[in-house]
C-alpha cells in the first residue's frame, strides 16, 4: 500500500516537473509537427491570396512572367463587362439550390434512418453520385439533357412536353438544369451528414410523440428539425459555400454556353486558362473572394445569434 502511494507520488512529481521543464520544448515540438501542414498551406493557400491581389493590378504575361502595373484596368474592364455581371448573378442565383438540397437530404436521411430491410442498399445507392467523378457523371448527364435524350423522353411520355428541347442550350433554363445535376450529385453527401445527426437522437423521443398522436408531418417539423439543428447549420454553411463557388458544372456540362451558364468562378477559370489573361482572372477572383468572405461573415453572425 505504502509502496503504491510512493509510486503515485513519484509519478505526479515526474509529471509536474516534466510539464514545467518542457513548456518551451513543447512549443518547439508542436510547431515542428505543425510545420508540414503550415508550410504547405502557406505556399498553396495563403500565398495565392496575396499573389492574386498583386496580379489583379498587373498585366501579367504567362510566357515570360513579366508583370506591369496597369492602373486598375482589369477592374474597370470587368465592372463594365456584361459577361462578368451575368456570371456573378448566376452564382447568386445558384444559392436557390441550398434550401432545396438541404430539405431533400434531411427527408432522405429520415427515410433511411431505421432498421427496415434494404436500408443499406438505399443508402449506398443514394451515395453513388457523390463518389462518381464530376467529369464522368457530367458526360452521362449531357446525354440526359440532349434534345432527344432521357429528359425529353420522360416529359413527352408523361404528356407534359410536345417538342424536343436542348435542355443545356436554352439560355433561360440551362442554369436550372445545371442545378438539378448539382442536386443529384450532392444530396447523398448531405444525407450522410444528416444521418450522423439523426442517429444521435434517442428513439424514445419519437416513440413518445407517436404515443401522443403526433403524425409524421408534425414529428418531422417539431422533433427532427429542432434536434438536428446543429447539423442543419453546418450543412447549410457547407452548401452555401459550395453553391457560390460552383464552377466545375459549367466546365463539364456546357463550357459556359453563350454566357448564360457562366458562373463567377467559371469566368475566372475561363479568363485564366482559355483566354490566358491571368491578371483579369485574378481581379475577378478577388471580387469573388470578397463576396465569399462577406457571405461567411453574414452566416457566422446569423448562426451565432441563433445559437
Amino acid at each position: 500500500m505504502r509502496f503504491r502511494t510512493d509510486l503515485c507520488n513519484i509519478k505526479i512529481k515526474l509529471q509536474s516537473s516534466y510539464a514545467v521543464k518542457n513548456t518551451r520544448s513543447y512549443a518547439a515540438i508542436a510547431y515542428l509537427f505543425l510545420a508540414p501542414a503550415l508550410i504547405l498551406m502557406g505556399v498553396f493557400t495563403f500565398w495565392p491570396v496575396g499573389f492574386n491581389t498583386y496580379l489583379a493590378f498587373q498585366d501579367y504575361s504567362i510566357a515570360d512572367g513579366t508583370a506591369t502595373w496597369n492602373n486598375f484596368a482589369h477592374f474597370k474592364y470587368i465592372f463594365h463587362e456584361e459577361l462578368f455581371w451575368n456570371a456573378l448573378k448566376n452564382s447568386l442565383l445558384y444559392l436557390l439550390i441550398v434550401p432545396v438540397i438541404q430539405l431533400g437530404a434531411l427527408v432522405l436521411a429520415k427515410l433511411v434512418n431505421n432498421k427496415l430491410p434494404g436500408m443499406t442498399f438505399f443508402r449506398a445507392t443514394f451515395y453513388i453520385p457523390v463518389i462518381t467523378s464530376i467529369s464522368i457523371a457530367g458526360v452521362v448527364w449531357i446525354y440526359v439533357y440532349k434534345y432527344d435524350g432521357m429528359l425529353t423522353w420522360l416529359l413527352t411520355s408523361l404528356g407534359l412536353l410536345h417538342e424536343q428541347i436542348d435542355w443545356l442550350g436554352e439560355p433561360k433554363i440551362a442554369l436550372y438544369m445545371m442545378m438539378i445535376f448539382t442536386f443529384w450529385k450532392g444530396i447523398g453527401y448531405y444525407m450522410v451528414l444528416y444521418l450522423a445527426g439523426l442517429q444521435a437522437i434517442p428513439s424514445e423521443v419519437e416513440e413518445a410523440a407517436v404515443l401522443d398522436g403526433a403524425n409524421a408531418w408534425q414529428r418531422f417539423w417539431k422533433i427532427t428539425v429542432p434536434m438536428v439543428k446543429p447539423t442543419i447549420l453546418l450543412c447549410t454553411l457547407l452548401s452555401t459555400i459550395a453553391a457560390i463557388k460552383v464552377m466545375q458544372e459549367p466546365i463539364v456540362l456546357t463550357k459556359g454556353g453563350k454566357g448564360d451558364t457562366y458562373t463567377a468562378l467559371f469566368y475566372v477559370y475561363d479568363q485564366a486558362f482559355r483566354n490566358f489573361n491571368f491578371g483579369r482572372a485574378a481581379a475577378a477572383g478577388l471580387v469573388i473572394t470578397f463576396f465569399c468572405v462577406l457571405l461567411a461573415i453574414i452566416q457566422f453572425r446569423f448562426f451565432g445569434e441563433k445559437k
Binding site: 512572367g65 427515410l111 438505399f122 462518381t132 458526360v139 477572383g285
Partner: protein, 279 residues
C-alpha cells in the same frame, strides 16, 4: 381497430418504400443507362426509351474496344499513383498537425486552429492561378507531385485527426511520458494505433476524392500519358476521340466501377467518418 392500425401501418410502409425506390431510380438511372448502352453490342436502341435501359444483344464488345482504342490502363495507373500519393501525403500531414492541436499546450494553438479552419472559407479555386505560376517555378507542371501536393494540407483532415486524438484517454499519454517516451513515439506508438479507425476513414475519403479529382489535374497535367481517369476519359469522351457513343458509355462504366467496388467494401467508414466530423 387493430385491423385499421395494421392497414395504416402497411400503407405507411408502402409509401415509405415507394419514396425510397423513386429516389433510388433518380440517383441510379444515369449510370444504369450508361451500363446498358455499354453492354449493348447493337447500338440501334440507344435513344429509344425505355428500351435502352435494357441491353440489346448484350456483349462486351465496347468494353474490349476501350482497351484497344483508349490508353485506359495508362489512365488507371496514373489515377492509382496519384490517389496513393495523396492519401499518404494527407494522412502524414494531418496526423502530425492534429496531435499538437489536440494534446499539446503551446502559445498560439488556438490561433493556428482558427486559421486552419478559416481556409475552408477561401475559394480555393481562385488560388489555381497563383498555384499554376508557383508550379511553373517549381518545375512541377505535368508532374504527379504538382497535381497532388496542393491537396496534402487540408483543414478537413487536420480537423478530423484533432477530433480523433482528443478522444484518446490522457492516462495512456501520461504513462508513456513517465516511461520516457518522446512525443514522436507517443504519436506513433499510442495515438496512431488507437485512432486507426479515424485514420482509415480519412484515408478512404481522401482516396475517393483524389480518384475523382478533375479540375486541378486537368490544368496542371499537359501530356496525355500523365492524365488520371477522371481527366483522360473525360477528354477522350468529349474531345476528338469521341467516335462512338457506345464506347463512351463503356468507358464511363469502367471508370466508375473501381470506386464502386472500393465503396462497397468500405461503406461503413463513410458514415462513421462523417460522424466524427459532425461531432
Amino acid at each position: 381497430m387493430a385491423m385499421g392500425r395494421n392497414s395504416r401501418r402497411i400503407m405507411g410502409l408502402t409509401g415509405h418504400y415507394a419514396g425510397l425506390i423513386a429516389f433510388a431510380i433518380f440517383t441510379a438511372f444515369p449510370l444504369w443507362w450508361a451500363a446498358s448502352v455499354g453492354l449493348s453490342t447493337n447500338p440501334e436502341n440507344m435513344y429509344s426509351f425505355p428500351r435502352s435501359f435494357w441491353p440489346t444483344e448484350p456483349g462486351l464488345l465496347w468494353f474490349a474496344k476501350v482497351f484497344t482504342d483508349m490508353p485506359f490502363l495508362t489512365y488507371l495507373k496514373n489515377s492509382t499513383i496519384m490517389a496513393v500519393m495523396t492519401v499518404v501525403g494527407v494522412v502524414i500531414v494531418s496526423v502530425l498537425a492534429g496531435y499538437p492541436l489536440a494534446r499539446l499546450k503551446f502559445v498560439g494553438s488556438k490561433t493556428i486552429f482558427v486559421i486552419i479552419i478559416l481556409t475552408m472559407m477561401l475559394p480555393s479555386e481562385v488560388a489555381m492561378i497563383p498555384n499554376f505560376i508557383t508550379m511553373k517555378h517549381l518545375h512541377l507542371i505535368n508532374e504527379y507531385l504538382g497535381a497532388t501536393v496542393i491537396n496534402f494540407s487540408a483543414a478537413f483532415g487536420i480537423f478530423l485527426m484533432k477530433q480523433a486524438f482528443e478522444m484518446v484517454p490522457q492516462d495512456l499519454i501520461d504513462a508513456a511520458r513517465v516511461d520516457g517516451a518522446t512525443e514522436m513515439q507517443i504519436l506513433w506508438r499510442i495515438m496512431v494505433p488507437v485512432s486507426a479507425p479515424s485514420i482509415a476513414a480519412l484515408g478512404i475519403f481522401t482516396l475517393v476524392n483524389a480518384w475523382n479529382d478533375y479540375l486541378w489535374p486537368s490544368i496542371i497535367l499537359t501530356s496525355r500519358e500523365k492524365l488520371p481517369l477522371a481527366v483522360g476519359v473525360f477528354n477522350d469522351l468529349t474531345g476528338p476521340f469521341a467516335t462512338s457513343d457506345s464506347m463512351v458509355m463503356a468507358a464511363i462504366v469502367m471508370t466508375v466501377i473501381p470506386v464502386l467496388v472500393f465503396f462497397a467494401f468500405t461503406q461503413r467508414y463513410f458514415v462513421s467518418g462523417m460522424d466524427g466530423a459532425v461531432k
